[in-house]
Symmetry: C2
Subunit: 332 residues, 2 copies
């Protein structure tokens, strides 16, 4: 349950005004926000309170998160000259706040902590577009029109993701997720040519750490075989693709995660309950499943609905399958 | 090539300020805008200049199209009391401007005219959400939480779509498209239960007119078998699903349309050319294909790029397959 925090009153009380990046850089506050959904929902894992643009921000590229808009770049990446705006991320300096946050969490958490990074395509799309986009026209024009420059950019973002994930695991994270949220905007042929090599590089570079790797993008039904093949143990599935279809497309050897439509958490409880049971049924006989939403928690979500979902999954999921695999996985 | 007009200087010259609904209600202007892309690009069909909310607007429900935003409802549909805000559409009165526009076009066009309507889910989502949405939370809460009211609403929208399409064909349109642009936001199980019956009703109610029916939604890869089965001869495919995959999922008995990513029209010509050829190759041996973009033309598109696309499709498509099936289909 990514972004579970933003629907919680206790989150709003400590989050503060302004860019979310300020809260992320404050270890006490970031640790508290990470803990809130674990306390509230009793989920089986925590996810670090951070953002996919944190490492790029921390390395001084010039990106912010504008409240009500999302990641914004005043000077988007536009030409080879912008490559000089990247400097290699040194986590011990640039992400010291992240290490301190995880250190606090290691003393507080009694469930595993999940770290994460943004995948090269999704992060680079913000750098090129300068703000959230519906059509990804600029980044597609760059990747297809100047593949050499695109691959240089994506490689730099990949390096930054690798350094981030390694630092998270070294500090205590027990699993990592690579979010390629917007990869589903691409045709599979373009994903394979321009995106897959960079995501593969990131996932391969954390393989030696021995922690489970989750790989995920929304709208990615057609990409599932490629996303799975990039190098992961768990494939995230949004709500559009039935789990049975996702198992077919990924070859059945991966654990799956997700599938509950975040919008349905706003429906009456009877509807939500039936939906959760349908998803658990869709998993009958497949222990490799982590219950989760198919995308982030919507801001207007009633926390009581999520409390009931977690309770239901723990009760029914445990009865139907091995507990650790039917675990509910939530946080901010 | 839906919305081809908005990238044309000649469109900007005649479109006027304010809501697009004013231009749609002006037969001279609407006919001129319909003709512009046919003249400019030499495409093989025209699509009526209108909007999917035109019939609901014309029947007085209270919906507008806000420039820079999209369809907006000051008083969204929220309860059974709002059912009274619908009155049956009488095309001879409510859509007289549409009949007049088509009458002008029948005297001017030397290619077939395509009519269209919005499908019940997509149109109803605007009525319930009150504006464009990313999550469709309100409409999903309504359809799952109060199925009876949802089905009443969707049925009224279906009736309005039927009256619209029938009037278009009676006035001279030679084909119809049913646009369920946002159906891809739904899980297939929800699509089947809440949406499919209403789209089926619309498509069945125009079957006796004997014109080809196209059915389309973006992001609809998982829904393709259901969208095809709703009752149509042509299935629209966005750029995420390869045509070969779409043929598999639809059973191979339908003609397909679309597949070019509108964002790639902004890429350098060599890239765009390769993409068009890749799509035509993906059709090798399948004459049942109508070349088109996978979604509307982006506003910042350079018309010269589209001119070259049409020229290329006419040249290569005609060499590779029967001309009428490889026809390029464009308009506003």
């Amino acid at each position: 349950m990514r972004q579970a925090g933003r629907s919680l009153p206790e989150y709003k009380a400590v989050r503060g005004e302004g860019s979310i990046l300020q809260a992320i850089q404050d270890p006490e506050r970031a640790a508290e926000i990470t803990l809130q959904p674990v306390r509230r929902y009793g989920v089986d894992a925590a996810i670090l309170f951070s953002d996919i643009v944190t490492p790029i921000f921390a390395s001084g590229f010039g990106i912010d998160i504008t409240p009500g808009v999302g990641p914004t770049c005043e000077q988007p990446f536009a030409s080879a000259a912008d490559l000089d705006r990247f400097r290699p991320l040194d986590p011990s300096v640039d992400l010291d706040f992240q290490a301190k946050t995880i250190e606090i969490l290691m003393g507080e958490l009694d469930v595993p902590l999940i770290g994460f990074a943004g995948a090269p395509f999704t992060v680079a799309s913000y750098l090129v577009e300068g703000r959230p986009t519906r059509d990804f026209a600029k980044v597609k024009a760059l990747m297809t029109g100047d593949p050499k420059l695109w691959h240089q950019l994506a490689d730099l973002v990949a390096d930054s993701a690798i350094a981030t994930l390694r630092a998270q695991v070294e500090a205590g994270a027990k699993a990592v997720q690579l979010f390629d949220s917007w990869a589903g905007a691409l045709h599979p042929a373009h994903y394979r040519e321009y995106v897959l090599p960079h995501s593969e590089k990131v996932l391969a570079a954390v393989a030696d750490l021995g922690v489970p790797r989750t790989h995920f993008g929304i709208n990615s039904g057609e990409l599932l075989p490629l996303i799975a093949g990039a190098g992961c143990e768990v494939v995230g599935v949004d709500w559009r693709t039935p789990l049975s279809v996702a198992r077919e497309r990924t070859g059945g050897t991966y654990a799956l995660q997700g599938n509950l439509d975040p919008a349905l958490v706003l429906a009456p409880w009877e509807v939500l309950e039936a939906e959760v049971l349908r998803i658990l049924d869709d998993n009958a006989g497949h222990p490799g499943y982590i219950f989760n939403l198919g995308h982030g928690v919507l801001p207007m979500t009633n926390p009581e609905q999520l409390e009931r979902v977690v309770e239901l999954v723990h009760r029914v999921g445990t009865a139907r399958g091995p507990a650790p695999d039917n675990a509910a996985n939530a946080s901010t």
